[in-house]
C-alpha cells in the first residue's frame, strides 16, 4: 500500500472513530472536520481537484460551522453524565445500511467499468462539470436547491417560534 495513502486513510478513519467516541460534542465536530479534510485530501490524490476543493469549501467552511452553531445554540458542548446511547446496535444497523447502499451504487456505476477499461482517461475538467450541471443535470440541481431552500425556511420558522415562547 502507498504510504501517503495509508497515512491519509489512517487519519480519516481515526478522526471518524474519535468523532464517535469523544464525549464532548465540540470535540466530536472538530474530529469530524479532520476526517472530512482527510477525505478531501484522498480526492486530491485521485486527481479530483474540483471535488477535493469543493469538499473542503462546503464541509469545512459551511457544514462544520453549521454543526458548531447547532451544538452551541441547542444544549451546549457539555455531554450529559452517563451513557449517551443504550443500544449501539441501532447506530450500527443504520451505518451498515448506508454503507450497503453506497457500495451498491458504486458497484453498479458504469464509470467504474469505463475506468477499468481506460486507465489513461484525462481528468474531468471543471468546464465539463459545469456543462453537465447546467445541461443534463439541471433538474436534480434545482431539486436540491429547492430542498435546501425548504430547509432554510424551516430553520427560520423554528427559530421564530422559539422566540415567541420566550
Amino acid at each position: 500500500m502507498n504510504p501517503i495513502f495509508a497515512i491519509l486513510a489512517g487519519v480519516t478513519v481515526g478522526a471518524a472513530v474519535a468523532a464517535m467516541a469523544l464525549r464532548n460534542l465540540v470535540h466530536s465536530v472538530l474530529c469530524l472536520t479532520v476526517s472530512l479534510v482527510g477525505l478531501a485530501l484522498l480526492y486530491l490524490r485521485l486527481g479530483a481537484e474540483f471535488a477535493g476543493f469543493v469538499q473542503i469549501l462546503v464541509y469545512v467552511g459551511a457544514v462544520a460551522i453549521l454543526i458548531m452553531f447547532a451544538v452551541l445554540l441547542t444544549r451546549g458542548g457539555e455531554a450529559p453524565p452517563g451513557r449517551i446511547a443504550n443500544a449501539p446496535w441501532s447506530g450500527l444497523a443504520v451505518a451498515a445500511a448506508v454503507f450497503a447502499m453506497i457500495a451498491w451504487a458504486i458497484a453498479r456505476s458504469p464509470a467504474l467499468r469505463g475506468m477499468a477499461k481506460d486507465p489513461a482517461q484525462p481528468p474531468l475538467s471543471v468546464k465539463a462539470i459545469g456543462d453537465k450541471l447546467t445541461g443534463d443535470l439541471v433538474l436534480p440541481l434545482q431539486v436540491v436547491a429547492l430542498l435546501l431552500t425548504a430547509a432554510l425556511v424551516g430553520g427560520v420558522v423554528i427559530a421564530m417560534s422559539e422566540k415567541e415562547t420566550e
Binding site: 476543493f53 469545512v60 459551511a62
Partner: protein, 412 residues
C-alpha cells in the same frame, strides 16, 4: 529588461539545477516555500511599524520613532520596532486559562496561520511567478483554504472559556459567512468573463491593450468596477479590518476571540490576520487590477513583480487609511449591508457581466451606458431603502433606566 523581469524565476532554476534530477521538484517546491515564508512575513513586520506610524500621524502624534539598531545611536526612524515586538512576544509568558480546552486552544492559531500561507501560494506575484498554479481550480483553492479561517476563529473563541472570546467568535463567524457570499459572487464575474479559475491565466488575460495605451484590466469595465468595489468591501470584512472589526472590537470585547491568548500565540493570530489581508489583496489585484500588468503600455519595462508588490503596498496603505478614518459599524448595520445591499448588488453585477458579454459586438457608446444603467438603478433603489430605514436613534435602554438611580438610593 526581460532578464530583470524573470530574475527570480531564473535564480530558482539556477539553484534547482544544483541538486540531482530526482530531487529537483522537491527542491523547487522548497525554494518557493522559503520565498513565501520570507517575503510575506517580512512585509508583515514592516506593515506593523508603518501602520502604527501612519495611525499616529493621522491622530497627530509621533508614533514609534525610537527603536533602531541596538547598542548604536542609529534610530532608523523607529523601523527597528518590529524586531523588538517580535522578541517581546517570543519571551512573554504563555498564559492559558485554567478552564480552557488546552488542545483546541493550542491548535487554533496554527489553523489560522497555515491556511494563510497556503492561500498566498496561489497568488501570481509576477509573470511565471505563482508557487502553485492550479490550471483548473486556482480560485476555488483560495476560497477552500480560506474556509479554515472561520473554524480557527471558532476554536479560539470557544476553547478560551471567556464570554468576550465567545462573543467575538460568534460575531466573527457571522460576519465572515455573510461577507463570503458577496466576495465569491463578485469574483465569479471575473471567472465568467475570463472563462477560467486559474489565477495565473486570469492575470495574463488582462495584458491586452485598449484605448491605445491602457492595459485591459478588468476594473476598466462596468462589471469589473462594480465587482472590484464589492470585492474590496467584502475583503475588508473578511480580514476583520476596521470598519468591520467587530469580532475584535477593543472598546466592547477586550480583543474578541483572541482575548485569552498571550505571547507568541497572540503574535501568530496577528500574523495570520495580516497574511490573510495580503492574500485577499493579492487576489483582488489579480482579479481586477491586472495582476502583475502595468497600467499603461509605456510602463511595461518595469518588472512585473514590482507592479504586483507596488499594488500590494497600495492596498495595505489603503486599509490603514480606512482604519484611521472610519468608525466601526454596529452589528445590525453590518448584517444589513451584507445581505440587503452587497448581495443584491453582486447578483445584479452577474447580470451586467452577461449583458456585457452578449453585447460584445455593440459600439462602446451603447454598451457602456446600458451596463452602467443596469448597475445604477438598483444601487439608487437599495441605498434609498437604507436611508428611509435610518431614523433618529432612540436610546431605549438609557431612557428606560433613567429612574433607576432613585430606587437604588432608596435601598439599604
Amino acid at each position: 529588461m526581460a532578464s530583470l523581469d524573470q530574475i527570480f524565476v531564473a535564480l530558482k532554476d539556477w539553484l534547482v539545477a544544483f541538486v540531482p534530477v530526482a530531487l529537483q521538484p522537491l527542491a523547487g517546491a522548497l525554494l518557493s516555500i522559503v520565498a513565501i515564508m520570507a517575503v510575506f512575513p517580512g512585509i508583515f513586520a514592516l506593515t506593523t511599524v508603518v501602520e502604527r506610524k501612519l495611525l499616529a500621524r493621522f491622530q497627530n502624534r509621533p508614533g514609534p520613532n525610537r527603536v533602531g539598531i541596538p547598542l548604536t545611536k542609529i534610530r532608523l526612524a523607529g523601523f527597528g520596532q518590529f524586531a523588538a515586538d517580535g522578541i517581546k512576544s517570543l519571551t512573554k509568558e504563555d498564559i492559558v486559562p485554567r478552564n480552557a480546552d488546552r488542545i483546541v486552544h493550542f491548535v487554533a492559531p496554527f489553523v489560522l496561520v497555515a491556511p494563510a500561507f497556503l492561500s498566498l501560494s496561489v497568488v501570481p506575484v509576477g509573470r511565471n511567478m505563482a508557487a502553485l498554479d492550479f490550471r483548473e481550480t486556482g480560485l476555488l483553492f483560495f476560497f477552500a483554504v480560506g474556509a479554515a479561517t472561520e473554524l480557527s476563529v471558532f476554536m479560539a473563541g470557544w476553547s478560551s472559556r471567556n464570554k468576550y472570546s465567545l462573543l467575538g467568535a460568534m460575531r466573527g463567524i457571522a460576519q465572515m459567512l455573510s461577507y463570503e457570499l458577496p466576495l465569491i459572487l463578485s469574483s465569479l464575474v471575473v471567472v465568467m468573463m475570463a472563462g477560467t479559475l486559474s489565477l495565473a491565466t486570469i492575470a495574463e488575460r488582462q495584458s491586452g491593450v485598449q484605448w491605445g495605451v491602457v492595459h485591459s484590466w478588468h476594473v476598466f469595465t462596468p462589471w469589473g468596477f462594480a465587482g472590484f468595489l464589492i470585492f474590496l468591501t467584502a475583503a475588508c470584512a473578511e480580514s476583520n479590518r476596521t470598519p468591520f472589526d467587530l469580532p475584535e472590537a477593543e472598546s466592547e470585547l477586550v480583543a474578541g476571540y483572541f482575548t485569552e491568548y498571550s505571547g507568541f500565540k497572540f503574535a501568530l493570530f496577528f500574523l495570520g490576520e495580516y497574511l490573510g489581508m495580503f492574500a485577499i489583496s493579492g487576489v483582488a489585484i489579480t482579479l481586477f487590477l491586472g495582476g502583475w500588468n502595468a497600467p499603461f503600455t509605456f510602463l511595461d519595462w518595469v518588472p512585473s513583480w514590482m507592479w504586483f508588490f507596488g499594488k500590494l503596498v497600495g492596498f495595505i496603505l489603503f486599509f490603514i487609511w480606512l482604519r484611521a478614518t472610519l468608525p466601526r459599524l454596529r452589528v445590525d448595520q453590518l448584517m444589513d449591508l451584507a445581505w440587503k445591499f452587497m448581495l443584491p448588488m453582486s447578483l445584479v453585477n452577474l447580470v451586467v457581466a452577461g449583458v456585457w458579454h452578449l453585447a460584445a459586438s455593440w459600439p462602446h457608446l451603447l454598451r457602456w451606458p446600458l451596463c452602467v444603467a443596469i448597475l445604477a438603478l438598483p444601487y439608487w433603489l437599495l441605498s434609498r431603502g437604507f436611508q428611509t430605514r435610518f431614523k433618529t436613534r432612540t436610546y431605549r435602554f438609557a431612557e428606560e433606566s433613567r429612574p433607576a438611580p432613585a430606587t437604588a438610593a432608596a435601598g439599604p
